[in-house]
Structure formats: C-alpha cells, structure tokens
Amino acid sequence: MRGNPETHELVAPGSLAAVLHLMAVEPGAWTPIAGGTELMVAHAAGRLNAPKLVSLWGVPELRFVHATDESIVVGAGATFADLRRSALITEELPLLAKAASWIGSIANQSRATLGGNLVNGSPAADSSPALLVYDAEIEIISARDSRRIPYHKFHTGYKRNALAVDELLYAVHLPRRFGHHRQYLRKVGTRRAMAISKVALGATAFIETGVIREIRLGAASLAAFPTRLHRTEDALLNKPITNDLIQTGRNAILTEALPIDDIRSTAEYRRRVAANLLEEFLFELLGVEKRP
C-alpha cells in the first residue's frame, strides 16, 4: 500500500443532487469515485492524484437498468454484475452482456461500474466496443443541465473525454433496433480470465440479400481510445459479401488501425489480429468458418 489514506478526503453525500451540488460549488476540486476499481489501484500504487473524493457508490439515482420504447437505459452506477443479471441486457444486448462477463473477475464485476469504465477511458476498456456498435448515446448531467452526445464522440484523446469538470456521466442509452443485425464481439486478452484486452473487435451489420446495408465496427486497443473504424466500415458498406470483399476489409482495417507497442502486446500483433477478427466476422456473414 503505497498511498497514504490520511492525505485524501472522501465524502459520501448519498444523493445525486448533493454530489452535483458539491461539484458545482467547487468545480474541479472533487473527483468522483464509484466502484473504485481504477482509483483504488492508483491509490495502492501511490499515484492517486485526488485530494478530495466524492463517492458515487450507493447513490441510488445512478444505479438502474430500464427500458423505454426506443432504448434501454443503463445508469452510470450500474455494475457489470448488474448488467449480467439484467434480462433486458442479456436478451437484447448480448454483446454488452458478453463484455460484462469479461471484466476482471466476479469480485471485480460486483464493484466495477459502467460509468467508471467509460470515464476512465482506457483504450482497452471492455464495454466500449459493444457500446460503439450498438450506437450508444451518453447522457451527461450537472447541477446546470443535462445533455446527450453520441458515444463515439465521448472520448476525445488518450484518457480524455467530453465531460466538463462539474459534470458526471449519468446514463448510457442503447437503441433497441439491433435485433435483426448480425452481431460479433471477440476479446483477445492476456489469458482467459482476469485479462486486460490486447485487442478487441465488435461488429453489428444489417444484411439484405447478401449485401451489407449497415455496419458498425468498434475496436479496443487499436488507437489511443476506443474507436469506431469508420473507414473500414465505408469500405464494406453497400457491398455484397464475397471473398474479395473480405480481403478489402482486411486491407482497410490494416490501414486504419493505429495500435501501439506496450507492456501487454505489440502493434504488429494487434493489427494482424484485428484483421483476423474482422475476417472471422465477415466469413461468419458469408456463412462459412474462417478459411484455414
């Protein structure tokens, strides 16, 4: 334990309004802490740079999963265990349920929140590819107002995002219109469980008579933050699925992906595997297993 708990203040006002009030009165002074699975790791390593923390854990207004006609709405304070237990999620958003099951371990999932995962903004975050390909929207709240932005515009740089200092991530809106899409998500981690993703690819596509009418590709660890692969999507859109198209897709993603070498993997590996994953998905669309 390298951090000194005595040098940090932590308060738990208990309601969303009270938290927002604190953050409005002293903008930038308070760091929210939800499940703490990021911040407490930093604390243990002695690199938690947050003298004043405000707890979101147990703030009831943030922890929910509910549905409207158009969307399923997940509160930022919902844990990944909540997502796995929610029938709405497992039935309608299987990729998100899958991603939730990959976050660390059971003990981690019972604390790690969706909001924390997104705001932390790791390029390897497991929930991101699923949210990108489900075309999620982010609802942001402050004492001033609330606003919504598309998730693919939420991350603005390495560990940077669209939140202002007095804002909280409030909820994620997931449109309920992917029921007839082909869906794919695969995480390639350092091992089968308790693994940080080395590369992950999510995809949703709408196919009509063998032609790709709609496609979204969302990737982790191919850039400084989780991103849609718009150029690869464009290369595939409105094309009939053929072996040639699969090669086109490979080439596109190899150009678009800009991964890095780091302690967990290499850029070369990430690019090649990303291309293989895309190929695997496209072969699935073609109705055959990946060519050996």
């Binding site: 334990m1 390298r2 308790m194 080395k198 590996y269 291309a275 695997e280 990946k290």
Partner: protein, 752 residues
C-alpha cells in the same frame, strides 16, 4: 521391510496437519504478526544497473531525526550474504551491480512516512556500462565479475564425442532458450526482527531454510550460534523463491532492529517483491547430436549457458543440476557437456522448483522431437529406442541399480491420452480448421536430494522427541510452505512408532528447538529427511524396548514406556544422522559417479490447440504419468504434481519477465501473467509405485519433477499442430506470430 509392508497411516489421505488453521484463517503468516513497539522498514534501491555510488544525500524536506538509517557502514560483521560464494553484499558498499540492489535502509513507526522518506534519499552515481544478456557477458568486453564473467563452469565427459561425427548416419543441431520465471508465491517476502544485547537477534519470517538464514545472520552480525534465532512463520508459498532471499531480508530487518532498538517488520509489497527478488535462471542450450541409422544415440555435445545475474548466489548448484539433467533419461555412449553460468547486471537469479533441470530438459526434449522429424521416425519411437533401463549407465556413468520403468510409463501415458489416435485425427482435421491441434510428449527423470556428495556434506540431523503431555514431536529444520512437510513427516513418525496420526506434531520451526536437518529444497524432504525420521522413530522404539521395558505394540504401551524412560533419563529424544546408501561413489572434479541417490521418472503428454486467428496456444488436456517411489499421501502427491504442471504451463505459455534497463518493467500482477482457474486444463495424474529402499517409507523426490515436463511437452505439441518448430519459451501469442511471420507462415499484411 518397511517399504513393502502394509501401512496404516503412510499412504492414507490423512488431513493436512496444519489444514484447519489455514482454513479458518487462524494460521499466522508474518504480516499477520505485530510485536510490541514495532517499527516498519523500507529499502532504498539502486535505480541503475551498474555504477559507482558517488554520494548519498538526504533531502531536508524530511525530519530525518525520526528515522533510523542504516547503510553498509552499520554492518557489524561481514557485509556478505553467506551462500556458496560470499560475493553478494548485504547492502551495496560503494558500487552497485544491478537495479534494485539494496543500498540503504530506513525504519519508522509509521509505514506511510517511509515511502516519502525513501523517495527523499538522493543517490548520485557514476554509471558504468551494464551487461544484460548471456551473449554480452560472453563477449567479455565489459568484465563485471571475476576475470571472465563466468560465475561457474562444468565439463562433463563420457566416451569420445569427437570420434563419432565423421561416421554417424545422422547429425542434428539445435538451439533452445528459456526465459526467466517469477515464483509468484501469493505471500510476498516478509520478516520481523528483534534485537537485544543479552539474546542477540531473533527473526520471524516467511522462509524455507531456517539454517541458511541463521548462517548469514551469524556472519553479518558476527554473533555466536546461540545468539541468533530464526523462526519460520506460516509461509504462503515459496517454490525456491524463499530459499536464498530471506537471508538478505532477515539481515536488513535485523540491522534496522539493532540500530533502532525496536522490533522491525519488513513486508514487501508485490511491486517490490517482483522487482527485487530472485527468479528462475534464463538459459540457452545448444545441442549437437549424432545417431546411427537405427535412430540410436551415438554422441551428444551440449553447450549450456545460464544467466546468473549479478552475484553467484546459487547459480553454481543450479548449473550443476542443469548439467546433470541435460542428457535426458537416455543411453548415449559419448557425451560432452560444457556448461557455464554467466554474470549479468540483473537481479541475481536464484532457486526455483526444478533448479536448472526444467531448462536443460526443455532443450533435450524439444531437441528429441527435432531429431525425430529430421530422421523421419515417430518421436515416441525415437525415445523408446534410447531409454535408460535397469543396469544401464547415464551421462555420469551412474548405473541404474533400481528398476527403471520408462517403457511402462510411456505405454500408460499413450493409452490414457489416446495419443496415437488423436495425432492421426488432428493430422486429418488440421488442414480444414482454423484451430490446429497437436499432441506432444516429454520423457525425463529428476534426481532426488542434493547432488553427488551434497547430502554427505549436509550431514543432516533429524529425529523425534516426546513431550511431557504425551505428544511425539518431529524435530527437523525442514519447513512447511504448502508442499506437505508437516503431514508427511508426522505420518512417517506415527507409522513407525505405531501410534495415531494425531499423537504426532511438528516441533516449531525455530532454530532454538530443532536440529539442522538441511534445507527444504531439492525434493529431499520425503526421501532423505523422511528416512531420517523413520530411522529415528525405529531407534526410539529400540531405546524404549532396551531401557524402558516396552513390550507390547499398542499406543498405550508406547506412551507408558515413554513415561518410564523419562523418569530414568530426563527426556525422551531420538536423533539420527544421514548415512549414504551403500556403494555410492561421486567425483566432484570429473563429475562422474552417482549423481543422485535416486531418480523419479516421468512421461508427460500435452494436448494443445493453436488458434490461427489469435496465434495463441491453449493446453486443452494434460497427462502426467510418473514413478516417484512410494506415494506417502495420495492427495498431497496429486496436489504437488498438479501445482507443478500449472507452473510449467505458465512457464511455457504465459510468464514473461520484461526487463527495461535491467529493471523488471512488468512488476505487477496485472502484467505478469500466470494461469488462472480458467486457464488450467484438466490435469490427469497417474502414479506407478516402486518403493525406494533408502527413502522414507519408500519415497523418492516429488516436488520438483512436475515442473520439468510441461514446457517441452507443450512446445512439442505445438510443433505437431502447426508443423513449425519453436525453440524458445515463454511462447506468448506475439512470439508465435513473430515465428510464423519470419517463416512466412502467415499472410503478409497487404496494407500500410
């Protein structure tokens, strides 16, 4: 004879002796212990791999008067850790030879203040060029140790290797490499020390070898035997990692305790433990092998190099074991093994389960498959044609005087794993699947106990005594750290004495109470120390018969006789000293003779799936078939094998120590990857039992064996799956991709 008679307790699945304490959270590990007035200690370490310490200054932002500060100048005795060669300082004095080398120690009552203070100690260096690899060390451009960077070398010769090459039908060469491996015991190193003028030093800690620590403390503090007391606390895993390092940590804690006048605890956190403590030696082994036209081995020439790190520590004995295991369990008339341990500016490598054997066996067994491929025979058949049998001589010309049942083990392994049918099926299916499967095998033996005359030098003393309240205590310095020492040794005593398992306890692992029965290493506890406990128990019975009228064989008779004996003689104690089995001959100079008292034998089989989408290899199923003498406890024995196999899988496919400028860069559990419950395949453990005459109730060594086989079996299975030889471990998916890309076995990325 005890080894064949039926037994009541030996061989039965009695509950682990200290099991309940561990299961209810009552067992006391070092970090669970507080002492009155205890302070905490921290270590200031070098941030460069090699250089001269120019100055040490203290930032005035800290009130240093609150702290106890210790440097090399405070060492009252020798500033050296006492292992085989005393070249490693307890605290760096004037120069540093690796990153994370301890330079200065701090103690303070508040643990949190230590970190800030440690950061405020400024050390200036004049850096010297570092040496990081075996290759750089071999070049000898920079001499960092002795005259030639060689920490130790051996030459083992048999027959006349040079005469064979000209006429041999087949000549095959290969180079094989293994990486460093971290023990990753879940309990980090930790120690508490106390000092006062009358009693000297007492330390409590997580450790394997109380008398190793004792020896170093005596030297570092220049104290007589009785003024140093070492007590082992419950130890949360060790695997060799708490064989040598605790001597350093105990010295550090004791130096702080002496200077501060307070008990001092030093409990490493994971980052410090990973960065600063020992790992398994990396290796590079080159094989050149001659065979006749029938696939019989004619000659082996082996060049074996290990990276020893910055100081000698245990490298010489690791190298010795690697040398002696480098030729495998095969008959070969002509052999030359030239082996060297090279110095580098890296944290010294140390003991780790297998102790050089896994490295050597990886090379040999991987090489066997390359030979088989090159000359076109089945890898199983090649091994069968060359196996040692009873009466054959191995590389050191040790005659196998006990039964050798490699053929039987092999047959069993092939049958249980359905090896041949699966290989055939995979050969058919692989071309049309993106997941390629393969089967791999490794055949090996592992010498039990210390090498050559080692056991004679150790001259171990062990025994039993009987307490006033009617408990028999086992008196040994061999410690429990999960392997089952407590259970096995109390089983043996209870069996031999004809009493209940619950009548026997372990004497505390405290040098004030126990004799020196040698270190808890080298798979020697059951075989060597177990035998001593068995003999001491039988000797006690004889004493009781001769001097206390023991007549019957009941438990009641035994304790009644003990009471009478105590009346007459004050205490009831029986100790025995090690005696070598008859006919043992070993020459330390030529490396000839009986290298080990006994060998455990094994055939391991791995079933592996290689995913060509992710380049990852997965072990899907694993069979471990072995002969380890008599199995003293079926559940514990299985647990040893399974645990070793899991570590071996990690060694082969997951665990990589990343060094940056000589410092471990991935020194966190999140970045040093070991297999989880989801990664370990089913492990099928099969024992064939041939009791060994000179082991405790027929036991041979078991603890290290299972780490030897998985890596070569797995890499052989990968070769079977993809048809490409891979000769380096660890093999992470990134590494496999690199191998395939270099051989143009994967599509070139078109773009970019």
């Amino acid at each position: 004879m005890s080894t064949t008679a039926t037994t009541r307790i030996v061989g039965a699945p009695v509950p682990r002796k200290e099991g309940v304490d561990k299961l209810v959270g009552r067992a006391q590990y070092v970090d669970d212990i507080e002492r009155e007035g205890m302070w905490h200690g921290a270590t200031v370490r070098s941030t460069i791999p090699r250089g001269i310490i120019r100055s040490i200054t203290f930032d005035p932002c800290i009130n240093w008067s609150e702290f106890t500060i210790v440097t090399a100048a405070d060492v009252p005795g020798k500033n050296h850790i006492q292992l085989i060669v005393a070249d490693q300082p307890c605290l760096a004095d004037g120069k540093v030879n690796h990153c994370d080398e301890a330079i200065l120690l701090l103690a303070h009552p508040d643990k949190h203040k230590l970190l800030e203070a440690a950061g405020a100690v400024r050390i200036a260096y004049d850096p010297l060029p570092p040496v990081f690899t075996i290759e750089e060390s071999e070049k000898q451009n920079e001499i960092i140790h002795g005259e030639d960077n060689i920490l130790k070398s051996f030459l083992l010769e048999k027959g006349d290797v040079d005469s064979v090459w000209a006429t041999a039908a087949h000549k095959i060469e290969g180079e094989y490499r293994t990486g460093a491996q971290e023990h990753l015991y879940i309990e980090n190193n930790g120690m508490i020390a106390e000092w006062n003028r009358e009693d000297g030093i007492t330390v409590w800690g997580s450790l394997q070898c109380p008398y190793y620590v004792h020896k170093t403390l005596r030297a570092v503090f220049d104290l007589p035997d009785e003024k140093v007391r070492v007590i082992q606390t419950e130890t949360g895993g060790a695997f060799g990692g708490k064989e040598d390092y605790p001597s350093i940590l105990a010295s550090h804690a004791a130096l702080l305790a002496m200077k501060s006048g307070h008990p001092v605890k030093m409990a490493y956190d994971r980052m410090e433990d990973l960065a600063a403590t020992t790992k398994r030696h990396p290796s590079r082994v080159r094989h050149r092998t001659a065979l006749d036209k029938d696939g019989k081995l004619l000659a082996m020439e082996i060049d074996l190099a290990i990276d020893g790190g910055a100081y000698s520590t245990l490298s010489s004995t690791v190298l010795s074991r690697a040398t002696l295991h480098s030729c495998g369990p095969y008959v070969c008339p002509n052999i030359r093994v030239r082996s060297r341990a090279w110095a580098t500016n890296i944290v010294p490598y140390g003991a780790f389960r297998g102790f050089g054997a896994p490295q050597a066996i990886f090379a040999m067994e991987r090489h066997m498959d390359e030979i088989a491929a090159a000359i076109g025979i089945d890898p199983v058949e090649l091994r069968r044609r060359n196996f040692l049998h009873e009466g054959d001589a191995n590389a050191t010309e040790q005659r196998m005087r006990e039964p050798v049942i490699l053929d039987r083990l092999l047959d069993r392994a092939l049958k249980e794993s359905d090896y041949h049918a699966k290989r055939a099926r995979y050969a058919r299916e692989n071309p049309i699947n993106s997941v390629k499967r393969g089967m791999g095998i490794a055949a090996f033996y592992h010498g039990s106990g210390f090498t050559g005359s080692g056991e004679l030098y150790l001259n171990s003393l062990a025994g039993v005594d009987v307490t006033v309240d009617g408990k028999v205590r086992v008196l040994v310095s061999n410690t429990e750290f999960g392997q089952g020492t407590n259970t096995i040794l109390t089983q043996i005593a209870a069996e031999a004495l004809g009493i209940d398992f619950s009548d026997v306890i372990m004497a505390p692992a405290d040098t004030a109470h126990i004799p020196n029965s040698g270190p808890t290493v080298a798979s020697r506890t059951s075989m060597v120390v177990g035998r001593l406990v068995e003999r001491a128990s039988l000797q006690l019975l004889a004493m009781l018969r001769d001097h206390a009228g023991l007549g019957g064989r009941s438990r009641g008779d035994f304790f009644a006789a003990c009471a009478r004996y105590r009346e007459a003689h004050g205490k009831v104690e029986s100790l025995c000293r090690y005696e070598a089995p008859p006919g043992i001959y070993w020459n330390d100079q030529t490396y000839h003779g009986e290298a080990y008292g006994a060998y455990a034998w094994a055939i391991y089989v791995a079933q592996v799936a290689v995913d060509t989408v992710t380049y990852s290899a997965d072990v899907e199923d694993f069979w471990a078939v072995q002969e380890v003498g008599r199995v003293l406890h079926p559940v514990l024995a299985k647990g040893q094998i399974e645990g070793g196999v899991a570590q071996g899988i990690g060694y082969a496919l997951y665990e990589k120590v990343l060094l940056e400028n000589g410092h471990m860069a991935n020194n966190q559990m999140t970045n040093y990857i070991i297999p989880t419950a989801e990664d370990v395949p089913p492990i099928h453990v099969i024992f064939e039992q041939i009791p060994f005459r000179y082991g405790g109730y027929g036991a041979k060594g078991i603890g290290e064996l299972p780490h030897d086989g998985p890596a070569p079996a797995i890499l052989n299975a990968i070769r079977d799956a993809i048809g490409v030889p891979v000769n380096t471990i660890p093999l992470l998916p990134e590494d496999l991709l690199a191998v395939l890309a270099a051989r143009k076995c994967v599509e070139e990325p078109v773009a970019q």
